[in-house]
Amino acid sequence: MALPRPSENPGELSDARLVADAAHGSPDALAALYSRYAKQLLAVAYRLLQTTQDAEDVVHDVFVGLPEALRRYEERGSLRSWLHKITARVALMRLRERSARPSVELNTLSLRAGANTPDTALSIEQALRTLSPNLRAVLVLKEIEGFTHAEIAAMLDISVGASEVRLHRALAAMRAQLLDNT
């Protein structure tokens, strides 16, 4: 007679167990990792790309590629940090693709129209949107995601000094935007 197996709720399993199961292709483990981390990863992607559709596409790509990538996961840092870095890199790749095919987005247009209205003060979010993608990426990665300049430099393939300069410019531009609109 087979011994009864303890019921396992994937939502209660440790990260290490989910990583092992997902790496072997378990859809349940992948779904559990999704429920645990998708919100944070969507936030990373959205802050860099500024559109929900693009952010969802990035998170889709990250989770579809995750089982194979987890086979190389080194477990030296936290899973959360590793996932954030990979998501940021996928989002930055999409940002570069978008830059190569320039297009003006509707939300950007409406924001610029709004900024010209004298009694409309820019919110932090709106000011963030007006930054160029290069400046916004450094600001988001440093000030919100907490990456170091060395990590940002590696992600963006720029020097540490260039990352520092971009952050300075991004903050100066944000401050100027906010002060001009008060």
């Binding site: 292709g25 859809p27 992948l30 779904a31 999704y34 429920s35 998708a38 919100k39 969507l42 936030a43 959205y46 802050r47 929900t52 952010a55 969802e56 998170v59 889709h60 790509d61 990250v62 989770f63 579809v64 590629g65 995750l66 089982p67 194979e68 990538a69 086979r71 190389r72 996961y73 080194e74 030296r76 590793w82 870095k85 990979i86 890199r89 996928v90 790749m93 932090i124 979010e125 963030l128 600001l139 988001v140 000030e143 919100i144 170091t148 060395a150 990590e151 430099a153 590696a154 992600m155 540490v160 300075h168 903050l171 100066a172 944000m174 401050r175 906010l178 002060l179 008060t182």
Partner: protein, 357 residues
């Protein structure tokens, strides 16, 4: 308003501290069940996506360390007037490198085994066209740790060689080896009409104990001739190249030509064929090695350059095998994965990063 007054008066770091809570509070989308369904559906249809590695910060030596190292180096130069070089590896030093060649020629070539498969038929030479490709290459050690990451490039351009309309195929590999950049370039000229090799030049810098090694090859009939030379640091070495390429082991491919070769071949689900991978031909062991290519399956693969319907192939050497993905639509190389020594030395992988046409 108080906050704005504060910002006017204080530095940017204070401004950053002041806006950080608001930045973090910007609303972001919620994950949906539909997105999870889309992910699981993609997995179920064998859609595979190759994710980039988490970026590895480049080491930045503190100035004090640099000064200390420079002083130590000066002291060494003062007190040790000549340093004996490590013994040379003899003839082995003049052997092929390059992504595929390095793997292939690491095996003893099985020249006498005879051909088991029909030769690769490069039957659509017109499929080669001007383009440039970029590949991301990563190397992991046996524990899965990322040890090397680089970008390789390949370009095809029209050219003329001795009056013959040709394609100039240039590949460039650049990698960091022990804090030093190693650059390898191959320039191959093939006839546009039938893709026969006309000439080839390979430069690797640095190479072994030399500042640079140069391989010049010319192709005529079943022969390859040319010269190997080296640059510095002392008097360079040089050797003539004169080898016969056995026609029954052709067609011959090189590291630069492999990513394009199957553009000219009608590949199907049951396709398999053989070819010879050309080495530098400086030493007998490194002239050519037979390879066998076989379609193993089909996959929808996402790499940084895009999502492609692919054939998954194996490339078999005398005692090893790589996995290789090509785009179904035109045979272009999309991914190479070498996991043969995953448990001992690690894995090597290259994925298509960018296509410019």
């Amino acid at each position: 308003m108080t906050r704005l007054f504060f910002w006017r008066r204080r530095g940017l770091s204070d401004f950053a501290d002041a806006i950080r809570p608001e930045l973090e509070a910007i609303p972001t989308p919620e994950p949906t069940d539909q997105l999870l369904d889309r992910i699981l559906a993609s997995r179920a249809t064998a859609h595979r996506i190759i994710l980039p590695e988490p970026a590895t910060p480049r080491p930045r030596a503190p100035r004090r360390t640099i000064v200390a190292v420079a002083m130590a180096a000066s002291a060494l130069l003062l007190f040790v007037p000549s340093i004996r070089r490590a013994p040379s590896a003899g003839d082995d030093v003049f052997a092929s490198s390059g992504f595929l060649a390095r793997e292939a020629f690491a095996q003893p070539a099985d020249h006498d085994a005879g051909r088991r498969l029909a030769p690769v038929a490069l039957s659509r030479p017109g499929a080669i066209r001007p383009l440039s490709l970029e590949f991301s290459r990563v190397v992991h050690n046996a524990t899965g740790q990322l040890v090397k990451e680089s970008v390789d490039s390949l370009a095809v351009a029209p050219a003329t060689m001795d009056g013959t309309p040709a394609w100039q195929i240039t590949s460039r590999l650049r990698e960091l080896v022990d804090t030093q950049h190693r650059v390898e370039t191959e320039t191959l000229y093939v006839a546009r009409r039938d893709l026969r090799f006309l000439s080839r030049a390979v430069h690797v810098s640095p190479y072994s104990r030399f500042e640079r090694i140069n391989i010049q090859q010319r192709f005529q009939g079943d022969s390859v001739t040319g010269r190997m030379t080296t640059d510095g640091p002392s008097i360079g070495a040089g050797r003539a190249i004169a080898r016969r390429l056995r026609p029954e082991l052709g067609p011959y491919l090189t590291g630069a030509f492999v990513p394009l070769a199957l553009m000219t071949v009608p590949v199907s689900a049951t396709w398999s064929a053989s070819a010879g991978l050309l080495g530098w031909a400086v030493i007998p062991r490194d002239v050519y090695t037979p390879i066998e290519l076989r379609v193993k399956g089909e996959e929808n693969l996402t790499v940084p350059a895009g999502t492609f319907d692919c054939w998954r192939l194996s490339i078999r050497f005398s005692d090893g095998e790589l996995s290789y993905w090509i785009r179904k639509s035109d045979g272009l190389s999309v991914r190479v994965l070498d996991e043969r020594n995953a448990a001992t030395t690690g894995t090597r992988e290259a994925v298509l990063r960018r296509i410019t046409e």
